[in-house]
């Protein structure tokens, strides 16, 4: 950003630096608010359809344009021309505010996403906390939509959404605290700088928790209970049609991209890679390419998960969050903190190895505990069956 500002001032010598900064900010904000949603939605709905189709042995979209590439645009036109329906008994103001809040809340997260060396809207020193905090708007939008629709399925779904989001926000925050602990900062730039070895390798437990929690926060399969068609029609946005539905949809895909982008930033080293640097335009572009490749890879993983796993039952979903991810996360947090204070791990390499070992120990311990608990509950259940037979 600073580089572009100085380039602008050198191009137009009469321009004052604050004005140039303002222009750069406005342009970047416009890109994030208008270009990014279109590109993200069109690209990733297409990718998702193709990937899922491949997994399910189908062809996927192939009518609109060559290879079905224009499918996303066709959908956009359809959404824009659909009639807008407001159900009777709806609370009109709240009903109309909810979709806007959902999409704006998601776009706000992009402000601190470093997409390339030096390209970040605002490198806040509370960066990652800002992400978590802004995430609350999505929850609010769901509650507002569910409440105002005057539909019991929408309302039930809103309850479920919140229950699910809060169950997975805590593990996610714990994973983030682990990253902050290792990086010593909440600022995105410094978190990337700290990853001479990507945190994926030193904090695999945190990555696993973060990845699962991200899928759940976006509400994608197998955690898509909020729109379980067979149970609660289609979720809190069941009554929405036309562009208002499209706004929820855009919000979901924007959330998908930013979730994967944050995973990249926190665990895969962000835009880092050979040749990426802030100094030259080529370096910046390379950094952007690295960022995109890593992010798309994570998104592909999420699609793969979606194509492979069946939907989880709600009690299992909540149990997995509260009774597995949270304790494991707390355990890993304490273990990592312990390793970082061990006196004989003086060099950074030793610390990385130590963190990795601590993570592996946590994995072993928690898996043992789970298998022990499972065996016990199974034997209790068997005893119960035997009891009824007798």
């Amino acid at each position: 950003m600073d580089a572009i500002v100085s380039w602008l001032t050198s191009l137009f010598p009469h321009m004052a630096a604050p004005i140039a900064r303002l222009i750069v900010h406005l342009v970047y904000a416009a890109i994030l608010s208008f270009v990014a949603p279109v590109v993200v939605v069109v690209a990733f709905t297409y990718m998702e359809r193709k990937v899922i189709a491949r997994i399910q042995d189908r062809v996927g979209p192939n009518r609109a344009g060559p290879l079905g590439l224009l499918q996303g645009f066709a959908d956009a036109v359809k959404m824009l021309t659909k009639e807008d329906i407001t159900p009777v008994g709806a609370d009109r103001i709240v009903y109309n505010l909810a979709p806007g809040l959902a999409v704006v809340g998601t776009i706000l997260v992009y402000a601190v996403l470093p997409v390339a060396p030096g390209v970040i809207g605002a490198d806040l020193n509370i960066g990652i906390l800002y992400v978590v905090a802004v995430g609350g708007f999505g929850m609010l939008a769901a509650v507002m939509a569910g409440w105002s629709s005057n539909n019991k399925y929408a309302l039930l779904s809103a309850f479920r959404v919140v229950a699910q989001l809060i169950a997975y926000e805590i593990p996610m925050v714990i994973a983030i605290i682990m990253v902050v602990l290792a990086a010593g900062s909440m600022q995105m730039g410094q978190i990337i700088d700290a990853q001479n070895v990507p945190f994926l390798f030193t904090l695999p437990v945190a990555f696993f928790i973060f990845f699962v929690a991200t899928i759940a926060e976006i509400g994608r399969s197998p955690f898509d209970l909020l729109e379980a068609e067979s149970e609660i029609v289609a979720g809190f946005h069941v009554e929405y049609s036309g562009f208002k539905f499209a706004l929820f949809f855009i919000g979901e895909y924007m959330h998908l991209f930013v979730g994967a982008g944050l995973g990249t930033t926190l665990f895969l080293g962000g835009w880092r890679g050979p040749g990426a640097s802030e100094a030259t335009i080529l370096g910046v572009l390379l950094g952007f390419v690295y960022f995109l490749v890593k992010t798309v890879f994570l998104i592909f993983l999420m699609m793969w998960v979606r194509g492979t796993f069946p939907r989880i039952r709600i009690d299992h979903l909540l149990d997995f969050g509260w009774k597995f991810l949270v304790p494991v996360g707390l355990l890993a947090l304490v273990a990592v903190a312990l390793v970082l204070k061990l006196p004989f791990l003086s060099s950074s390499v030793l610390k990385w190895v130590g963190m990795l070992v601590a993570n592996i120990v946590v994995v072993v311990v928690s898996l043992t505990a789970v298998s022990f608990a499972a065996r016990r509950s199974r034997s209790v259940a068997l005893r119960g069956v035997a009891g009824t037979e007798r």
């Binding site: 824009l80 021309t81 009639e83 008994g89 999409v103 309850f159 707390l330």
Partner: protein, 118 residues
């Protein structure tokens, strides 16, 4: 500090335009032919029975409770994590005690069946 947040402010102002412009555009080109059937509550074609406000379970509230407690824990642990490098050894024990007390809260809720979806 404040200048860091100017971009966030600008982004809010611009991002709000997305729903506004989109809804305006679709308002111009979409059909408007409301009728009572279309506007009735959607339940897959079945007539709605009873009030929307069927009684919900207090279980949801208990999950929210546990969430609030752990959210605040995060607020306290984040500054700790940032400063951890510069803190002496007792920071570890203090934080462990802190986490343990909260783990106790989780254990309590768990044992009391507050986290059971029955």
């Amino acid at each position: 500090m404040l200048s860091d947040f100017t971009f966030v402010g600008i982004l809010v102002l611009i991002a709000v335009l997305l729903p506004v412009v989109g809804l305006g555009l679709s308002w111009l080109i979409r059909p408007k032919k409301p009728n009572p059937v279309k506007q009735s509550t959607y339940e897959c074609g079945i007539e709605t029975i009873g009030d929307t406000w069927v009684q919900f379970r207090a279980q949801y509230y208990i999950y929210a409770l546990v969430f609030v407690v752990f959210d605040i824990e995060a607020v306290f642990l984040l500054p700790w994590a940032v400063a951890y490098d510069q803190l002496p050894l007792y920071a570890l024990t203090e934080a462990v005690i802190f986490v343990l007390i909260l783990a106790l809260a989780l254990v309590y809720a768990w044992r009391k069946g507050a986290l059971r979806w029955s």
